[in-house]
Amino acid sequence: MAMPITSIPSPAADQTSARQAARSLGNLLRQTPTYQAFLDLLKAVNTDPTVQQLAMQMRAHQEALQMGRDVEQHITELERVDAQVKALPIVQEYRQAEAAVRRLFQAVDEIISQEAGVAFAENARRSGCSCGS
C-alpha cells in the first residue's frame, strides 16, 4: 500500500509558511516602541499646519519650475522653504525617528538575509517604490 507523503512539505505549503512568517515579522516590527514613535511622528508631520503650508509653497515653486517660469527665483525660493521645513522641530524629530527605524530594519534585514542566503530588502525592492513618508 502506498503511504501518503506527509514528512516532505510541498512548495505551496512552504510558500504559505514564508508568507505567514513575513506577516508575523511585520506585526512584531509594528509593535516596537521605535516603530510606534516613528508612526506617531509621521502622522504628526503629515497633519502639522505649518508643514502643510510650507509643503503647499514648495509644490507651487516646483510647478513653476516644471513650467519653466522664473527658474532662478523659484529655485532660490524652493531652497529657502526647504530649509524652513528642515528646521522645524517636528520635522527634525521625525528625521531622528526615521533614522532609528532604519537602523532597526537594517539589523532585522541582516538576520533575514543571512538565513535566506540572499540580500533580502535589496532584492525585494520594487522599482519606483517610496516608503510612503
Partner: protein
C-alpha cells in the same frame, strides 16, 4: 563607535524564522546554484570585472568633462554584450530576476503590516 543594535529576542527569532522559511521554500536555491557556478567560472569573473573597470573608467572620464569617443562607446557596448550573453553570468542574472518578484511579494506582507514600504527603510 559601536553601532551594533541589540534586537529584542522575539524580533531576532521572527527575522530568523522568516529567513529560514525563504530558504526552505526553495526560492533562493536556483539562484544560489547559478551564483556558485558563476563565481567558480574564472573567465566569467574576469570578464565581469573588466566590464566594471571599464564602466568606472568611462564614468570618471565623463565626470571630468571628457567627451567619450565613438570607439570608447563601441568598446563599452561590445563588452557589455559579452557579459550579458555569457552563459554563466546570464544564468545567474536570470535566476536573480526570477527570484526578485518572489521576494518583493514577501516584502509586501511585511509592508502591509507596517503601512510603509519595508524595503525603502531596510536598505
Amino acid at each position: 563607535m559601536d553601532t551594533t543594535l541589540q534586537l529584542p529576542t522575539a524580533l531576532q527569532e521572527a527575522a530568523s524564522t522568516f529567513g529560514q522559511a525563504i530558504r526552505a521554500a526553495g526560492y533562493v536555491s536556483a539562484y544560489l546554484e547559478a551564483l556558485a557556478r558563476c563565481d567558480a567560472d574564472a573567465d566569467a569573473m574576469a570578464l565581469e570585472q573588466r566590464f566594471y573597470d571599464l564602466y568606472d573608467e568611462l564614468i570618471a572620464r565623463q565626470q571630468a568633462g571628457e567627451a567619450l569617443s565613438q570607439e570608447q562607446r563601441t568598446a563599452f557596448y561590445n563588452l557589455r554584450q559579452q557579459v550579458q550573453t555569457h552563459p554563466n553570468i546570464s544564468a545567474r542574472d536570470e535566476a536573480l530576476a526570477q527570484l526578485k518578484p518572489v521576494l518583493a511579494d514577501l516584502a509586501d506582507e511585511i509592508s502591509e503590516a507596517l503601512e510603509v514600504d519595508y524595503t525603502a527603510l531596510a536598505r
